[in-house]
Symmetry: C2
């Protein structure tokens, strides 16, 4: 790229280094290695390559930049500040402090230009794959001849750590399969991680690996701006494949006494080193002018001045020339955005229906028709909740054209698939199903990327047991409050013969513990539909729906109030006599069928009045008003049985003594589901027997 101004880039890069070093020094915590090593290429990307408008950070056709190696957050924050996003010097000053806008690892904040939360390695890369799929999908769905509404790219910066994580291979494999040529990954190949040089453990040929997965790969020097820019520009010419640019960098570059070592990865450099850096970088005259000293000869003056800079209340040094350089594109960026606005206005007149759909995708809220249909949803015959879930999902898909997702090679089993749509694939992204392959972890993180892109509402499905494989990404969905629907089928030992490796036990309560996630284990057709309704109507974050492999047929079929459903538990079957209950049985999912059958049996044989309570969502029930909970459980004045084919191991130490817990605290076994239900004590018959014994003892 001939127009690269190498001198200005170096100046700006040194300012990135300075800001990063001082901010980390102030916090006495942080990771200088990456911001220093990638300062040069970061400046080149933000100054010359990324298409965006810092004054409209949520502009939908912006190029996305994902810092997958999230520990290098000061690189991102510095570049956002310098490029004119709303990150301020004061924000940088408060790096890693309580409620600052610059936390230790980047946290999704669209208004700041932080595209996703990263830190757990490899996640950002998979998010980027999702964003690239979403960009392809919306370009194909909404662009029209003469109306290139969408043509953005996704840039992603990964480190050695990202590429060691399994999720990066999974995501790269799918990206290569899909030929995502709008995905540009820069590999910060500094070959140093926390425990030392990567040659102690990571010696694979990364270029060959990505080529094997269908990528176009080039190498360059990441600390040499012109080479980097030329290599990148050349890569961008070739369509058809995702792009990997291996940028050989020196970790901690600029600190010539500490660079290229794991020592500079994750700890403050110290003022001595910063002084050394100032003396040997383009920051020397800037500091000289600001401090009114000669950094070369006045060591005491420099140290004293840097010490003040590193104090939390001292404003960080402004570098006018570097800022001017980084921001001189702003008018051009605004012009580009304005032209796109014009195009959009013409598009709205020309294609009102598509325009309306685009607008709809940006809003929360459930379509009115869908809301009514879900509210009234009933099926005629008992079925497995996974099958019901599949039909409800497809009902929703009919109303929400940007509902897109898939499963990890289990479409037929989980029913997490849109029946009348195709798989999207290389060259044709019109499908609404994604064949994720046996890649649960990448699926969930790619789904997060789909949601982050802003158009698609994603769903992801697998067996509940393999929730374990994708948990790190689900956790990030909860942390980011993404509208991402997780569909987990085969929810318990009742899946039967596949045995303990496939039978969830601890998973149900593990889900419930996750902050911000709402999980449902529906017991019938209505609850299944209402779980979806909750997702589209109420949720401001991810929802998990956990379904059965086998048929459920609880006796009761009440018409609960939506408001009671929102309390997470409600009376499903009143005592036969309408008297006050002699005992209460709480259950969720398929155990509600067992509970209602057991209740019927007990009412007949033991002449007791039994209330059965369904608990589709324990998180909501736990948060429900105290009086509601107390009334439902008869204030523990009668025996309360809690039946779930799931583990409460350990935490049951704190339970109310009035609760008789019928759960499963050991691994399942391989046998027909019915046998297991009896053997593990959660079948109707077994539950009735346990309660009977309890009543008599």
């Amino acid at each position: 790229m001939s127009e690269i101004n190498a001198r200005k880039v170096r100046q700006a890069a040194d300012y990135v280094r300075y800001l990063s070093l001082i901010a980390i020094e102030k916090a006495q915590s942080g990771h200088p290695g990456l911001p220093l090593g990638c300062a040069d290429l970061g400046v080149v990307l933000y100054r010359y390559f990324l298409k965006h408008d810092p004054t409209q950070p949520q502009w939908s056709n912006r190029d996305r930049f994902v810092l997958s190696a999230g520990h290098g957050s000061m690189l991102l924050y510095s570049l956002l500040f310098m490029s004119g996003f709303s990150v301020t010097l004061d924000d940088l000053n408060r790096f890693r402090q309580w409620q600052s806008r610059t936390p230790g690892h980047p946290e999704f904040h669209a208004a700041l230009g932080v595209e996703t939360t990263t830190g757990p390695l490899g996640q950002g890369f998979a998010n980027a794959v999702g964003m690239a799929i979403a960009a392809k999908w919306r370009a194909q769905r909404y662009n029209r001849p003469g109306y290139q509404l969408f043509n953005n790219r996704v840039f992603c910066l990964v480190g050695d750590g990202c590429l060691m994580e399994g999720i990066s291979y999974e995501a790269a494999s799918l990206a290569g399969h899909l030929g995502l040529d709008n995905l540009v990954t820069i590999y910060d190949a500094n070959r140093v991680s926390i425990d030392g040089h990567t040659d102690i453990t990571f010696t694979e040929d990364v270029a060959a690996r990505f080529r094997a997965q269908g990528w176009l790969v080039a190498q360059t020097d990441g600390n040499e701006p012109r080479s980097f820019a030329t290599a990148l520009e050349s890569l961008l010419q070739t369509p058809g494949k995702p792009l990997l640019l291996i940028a050989n960098t020196v970790i901690g570059s600029g600190l010539d006494r500490k660079q290229d070592s794991s020592k500079i990865h994750g700890a403050p450099a110290g003022l001595e080193e910063i002084a050394h850096f100032v003396r040997h970088s383009t920051m020397k005259p800037v500091v000289a002018a600001a401090a009114g000293i000669d950094p070369e000869n006045d060591t005491d003056g420099l140290m004293a001045w840097l010490k003040r800079q590193a104090e939390s209340e001292t404003p960080l040094l402004t570098h006018a020339e570097a800022l001017e350089f980084m921001r001189e594109k702003l008018p051009q960026q605004r012009k580009m955005a304005a032209e796109r606005d014009d195009l959009w206005h013409r598009y709205q007149r020309e294609f009102p229906q598509s325009a309306a759909e685009i607008l709809q995708s940006g809003e929360n809220g459930i379509p009115v028709d869908l809301d009514s249909a879900l509210a009234a949803y009933r099926e005629d015959t008992p079925d497995a909740t996974r099958n019901i879930s599949g039909r409800v999902l497809n009902l929703c898909a009919g109303h929400i054209p940007f509902l897109v997702g898939g499963s990890a090679d289990l479409a037929g089993s989980t029913k997490a698939t849109i029946f009348d749509s195709a798989y999207l694939g290389a060259g044709d992204f019109s499908g609404r199903n994604i064949a994720y392959g046996v890649r649960e972890h990448a699926m969930a993180a790619i789904g997060n990327g789909l949601a982050l892109d802003g158009t698609i509402i994603p769903f992801s499905g697998t067996f509940f047991s393999f929730f374990d494989y994708l948990k790190p990404a689900l956790r990030l969905a909860a942390l980011m409050r993404l509208r991402h629907l997780f569909i987990f089928s085969h929810d318990s030992i009742y899946l039967g013969e596949d045995g303990p490796t496939h039978q969830p036990v601890e998973h149900l309560n593990s889900l419930r513990l996750i902050p911000g996630l709402i999980s449902f284990r529906p017991a019938d057709d209505r609850e299944t539909a209402w779980a979806f309704r909750y997702f589209f109507k109420q949720a401001d974050g991810p929802v998990a729906i956990v379904t059965t492999r086998q048929k459920v047929s609880p006796q009761g079929r009440p018409d609960p109030d939506w408001s009671d459903f929102l309390f997470g538990a409600y009376e499903y079957k009143a005592p036969q006599t309408n008297k006050a209950p002699d005992l209460v049985i709480m259950a969720s999912g398929s155990e509600l069928s067992a509970a209602t059958a057991a209740a019927g049996e007990l009412e007949e044989t033991e002449r007791v009045c039994v209330r059965v309570v369904s608990v589709p969502c324990l998180e909501l029930f736990s948060a429900a008003p105290y009086d509601y909970r107390k009334a439902l459980l008869q204030d523990f004045q009668v025996p309360v049985f809690l039946v779930e084919a799931a583990s409460y191991r350990g935490v049951d130490a704190w339970f109310h003594p009035g609760i008789h817990l019928i759960d499963i605290q050991r691994f399942g076994q391989s046998a027909p589901g019915k046998v297991l239900g009896d053997q593990f004590g959660v079948s109707a018959h077994a539950v009735a027997a346990t309660i009977r014994a309890c009543l008599k003892g």
Copy 2:
């Protein structure tokens, strides 16, 4: 391989097919696709390549065979039966039934020749990498010139699904780095998975991928015995790299109307298809003789006979000729084992110390000296439990030479490292540390493989937040009851500035829910040492130790009884006055420091008597005698406060109303740990304030 008897191999392979088809038909559940597709190569492996003695299935120098694609379990069971292991026809008859020895997916059963539990895809492959490391390690440690005690190989069969999972890339990357030429992986490349042909999602160049990771790769026809054997034998000649043989197979081979389709992957074939198979395979004369019919012309007779075969009580057909072929090696296998026994006896005389160490590694139990040292363990100054854990681990390592492990690029942070030992590496496996790289998932599964091998006691370390990345493998450690120690540091929001992505919240109770796992969150030096003591002295399965990043210094330092410690909770600080407590505070880990400080403050300012209870292991406490628990909590006659910087979200709906829960049900934040402790209400000051308000309100 010239001596391959292709006719006999085909005959035996058809018997594998027959047994698999009928067993799955009986169970009306199972996966015929792989057993049929891999029948030929499976017979070749068991008949010609694997070095083992079926009459001594636990013979330590045996070649291991790992069926990573565990859904193909009938292949393994059939081969074990046919080769003369103690799997019987009756066992095959009870495939997938309650408490049978042939569950749906293979479950670790050393006496049967089932080397590991598989089913969750990719796990077995990573186990095999661990077994290969262990084999290298013990060969280097114990072999002497003229005494090749150990030289076994590890064979592993993987499917497309295994190779799509991220863990397979992680494990392959490390295997290539370590040059594990004793690892032989057969890739059943049938290119079909549950949702269809893999070309809908998995189109990477697998050969190139493995070569990029340092493997030697060859391809062959997996359904042509001679080609397969020749290719395998040729691969085995080349030392220095792990070996991948890509065996192109036809899924469901033998069922020419259903093969090569996902339809045959995971459902019974049906009697019609089985009849068709019998008519067109070498099973025809065998069935003809057994049934006394002409399968070709007597369709009704054949169907009736097969129907009976598929009934659960009918014994499976014996195929004498196939059995004779598979077992004719038995005398030779016994001779080989006997020669090795002789070698071992001479070794014992020649190298008594090493021999004693080998014998020690095969036994459970803690060395007496170590037991005493751990029992009395105390440190002089307060420290972070991760540092204490590091010192205790190294104390243990001094007594247990086969304690080997590592961390996922966090040796310096987790202290899960043996200080005076090197990393093991290609060509030199004497080190006791493994540089796992940023590969948590593979680490845990490789650790499982180390344990399964039978010599090494493994430890694995990472940040507690990244427990999520390895959970699927930890679960299998618990299911298999492996002696595998997990060390998780940075246990809570108190890690501070790295923020919510690195701060565990839901993880602590997620650990506790897992059947069979015992987890400790120690609060001081003694508890840390005793957690290790528990692992070596008591545990018959995995143990997790969860440690702090920051210093702990609880006031109290009692000398608890070991028996009380085994109850999971005990009085840590008695009320100052020795009167009955007015309130009880329960806490674990660093919150015990907060609790004891708060108690001291409250005793002074509020004139109340406070008992502080430490809960190092909630699972043990939950299982402790009722009277013990009741006494410790004063039978809830006084307020009880439970303080943990961890989530009880949802499950707290069932809590005893006498418990005042001070937990964390939202994500952490990026800020200094002390600030977070106050803001999240779990610091000493905040806990005291909460209790004070509660006492007054």
